[in-house]
Subunit: 401 residues, 2 copies
């Protein structure tokens, strides 16, 4: 089940000379609830967003999170997932969940996997077992996970080849076409198996085609003809230079059907998100907020901040004075006391002492930053000021912390 | 400032044949608030209870936490602490804090330190700087930290010698006496410096004397003559066999003044806490709940549980069905939804995947277990049923999980 309602767009304005953009504001209704778009989806690989309490995710207003099919297939395994009736019950998350197909992780195994038309043979990185992934298997696992949004199995077309014979070479048009065409055949097999399993959720097709606009157009048109309830743009953030990514981001999203949600997979920086929205993207996911948090890089309205930097040692100020997260501002308790609201000096100290509270607070801050950025984008689309927001965002981020 | 009010004791009852105990229920009023005793104090070495959000500590009803003077002296250092007006502002904890003297950590440096009557010369384990710790220095640092309870500098008398010439030998009566007598002189110097600094908090003296009751009696009487507002029993949990610990625990606490709080340092297991209360102890601290949590050992009403054990892989039940912590039971949100409340299977999975949420949830559970155990002890003392509680506690813990 999936319903997408388009609430606002960002049209040009002849009076003000504003050029407009492909940005849009919508609501996405799924089996476990309603998601306001554009949205960022925190990544919960193994059934947990790394270092973040579920209660913190709820507090910061996360509306939908990801799970990784491949990882959850390896551990805890399909039998445990089955016994819990899916991922929601296992990880105790009651709002929508999107799962990827597992294709990217299988592909990433490199020498440990062999891709054929039928599917991917590989050795489990956990225990060495010989395993097989196919469109059918991916649908079966994702049906067990009972995720609200299921992704088709696709083949990830890399920017630089990882195959032994062509390693390090830029993927050719012929290679990208071959890969894209197999992903289309896998899209059909995914769709058929999804229907056979009577999965009550929503299956997304994934646009591929490497860095070639004409291949992406072919992929897109073929998928649209298959009438998926939603579409993703895959094969970006796969090692390509930033300008290549922006070129593909400018091509595909806005050419997808207006009345269906569009998901840009694995992207990206705050700047990428704002540009992605301008290109018509509704949904994003990325490990960057949590991974960077664990490495001491914090996102703020005025640019990125390295908490390890010695200049923060005696700084009583918060990471971001405009941020309302638990780490920056804290929360006021019913008894009037304030919990949280920490200084850069304290966060610097926690990092220096390798205390677990450092990645915990940093992950909350970064995820809150991403979610709040999307909330600000949504508000600007509602008030018809996305163009001004986009300019102010760039200026603020360039200011420096 | 310290006020201790004794509310209930645990007298013998000739009618029922109950033998009574030294257990007592009291309130301890400090500069940052009131503490209900008997109490367990979570350890926040570097200004953070490892792996636990301050909001979680508040949620589980922690009334007072520890800070380690030595660690905080090394990092972030006295200048940063001074700039925050003490540890409360730095770590954003508004309730009482107790700091140790730093003596135990300096003593633990082994070959890197040299103890003289004047104090301890040592090399910083962080940067190799040559440093000096003395009763005066400890009081100065703890005054900067502005902890509600300050501990005198003492010399830890080990059970087995760590000195090069006598390493591994059981401490002799002569050695224990020499050490205890120096600790008494350091108690006086601590008291004088604490007064000179006009520290507005409360300084505790520490009973030493190794495993020798007559030395402990001498130490205790000399300290009582110095009229501290509270007393600790130190030099237990220093490598001695359990029966030796219980012997000392049975000697010292109840001989201290009835109208002053008694703190048993660094103890211990749940069983140790219940026995300590029976011997008249009011305050405990120990790293065990958080350290064991990080190692996958969980405390429950029915015994200890190793979450790594394969038998938990498919178990849908909570760690402890009687526990009301976030991990076991979760919390009900204002909108009626439940947050938290995880299965053993999920916790087993998190541990197996080395996910940070594993020690996070386990630390919450173990600390909640300790704090709840003390709450149950307090309730039993209020209702005059401590003897029955003590028996039931032992039976429950022996039952097995």
């Amino acid at each position: 089940m999936l319903t997408f309602d388009l609430l606002h767009t960002d049209p040009a304005n002849a009076d003000t000379g504003y050029a407009g953009s492909h940005a849009r504001r919508g609501t996405l209704t799924l089996n476990h609830g309603v998601v306001q778009t554009p949205i960022f989806m925190p990544v919960g690989t193994y059934g947990t967003v790394k270092g973040v309490m579920p209660s913190s995710l709820e507090d910061m207003g996360a509306q939908i999170i990801l799970g990784n099919t491949f990882h959850l297939w390896m551990r805890p395994g399909q039998d445990v997932m089955q016994s819990f009736g899916g991922l929601h019950g296992f990880e105790r998350w009651n709002k929508p969940i999107l799962t990827d197909s597992g294709g990217f992780q299988v592909w990433s195994l490199g020498a440990m996997r062999k891709i054929t038309e039928q599917g991917v043979h590989f050795s489990s990185p956990v225990n060495g077992d010989k395993l097989f992934m196919s469109p059918e298997v991916s649908m079966q696992i994702q049906t067990t996970l009972n995720s609200d949004i299921v992704m088709q199995l696709d083949e990830c077309t890399p920017y630089l080849s990882v195959e032994p014979k062509t390693k390090g070479q830029i993927t050719t048009e012929r290679e990208a076409r071959t890969s894209m065409e197999m992903s289309l055949r896998w899209a059909k097999r995914s769709q058929d198996e999804f229907a056979r399993l009577e999965n009550p959720n929503a299956l997304f097709g994934i646009v591929q085609g490497g860095m070639f606009e004409h291949l992406r157009q072919e992929s897109l048109e073929a998928l649209v003809a298959m009438n998926f309830p939603g579409y993703a743009v895959g094969g970006v953030s796969v090692g390509e230079p930033k300008d290549e990514m922006l070129r593909i981001m400018a091509h595909s999203p806005h050419r997808l059907p207006t009345n269906k949600p569009r998901y840009l997979m694995g992207v990206g920086t705050p700047e990428d998100l704002v540009e992605g929205v301008a290109q018509g993207v509704d949904m994003f996911d990325c490990v960057m907020p949590t991974r960077n948090a664990r490495n001491g890089t914090l996102f703020t309205r005025y640019g990125d901040l390295k908490i390890r930097n010695a200049r923060h040692k005696t700084d009583h100020g918060p990471l971001d004075p405009t941020c309302t997260c638990y780490a920056c501002k804290g929360v006021t308790r019913p008894d009037g006391s304030v919990s949280g609201g920490f200084s850069r000096a304290y966060l610097h100290h926690l990092d220096r002492c390798a205390e677990m509270l450092s990645p915990m607070l940093s992950s909350i801050h970064n995820l809150h930053y991403y979610l709040n950025l999307m909330a600000e984008i949504r508000a600007s689309l509602e008030s018809g000021t996305f163009g001004a927001f986009r300019a102010q965002f760039k200026a603020d981020r360039a200011r420096g912390v």
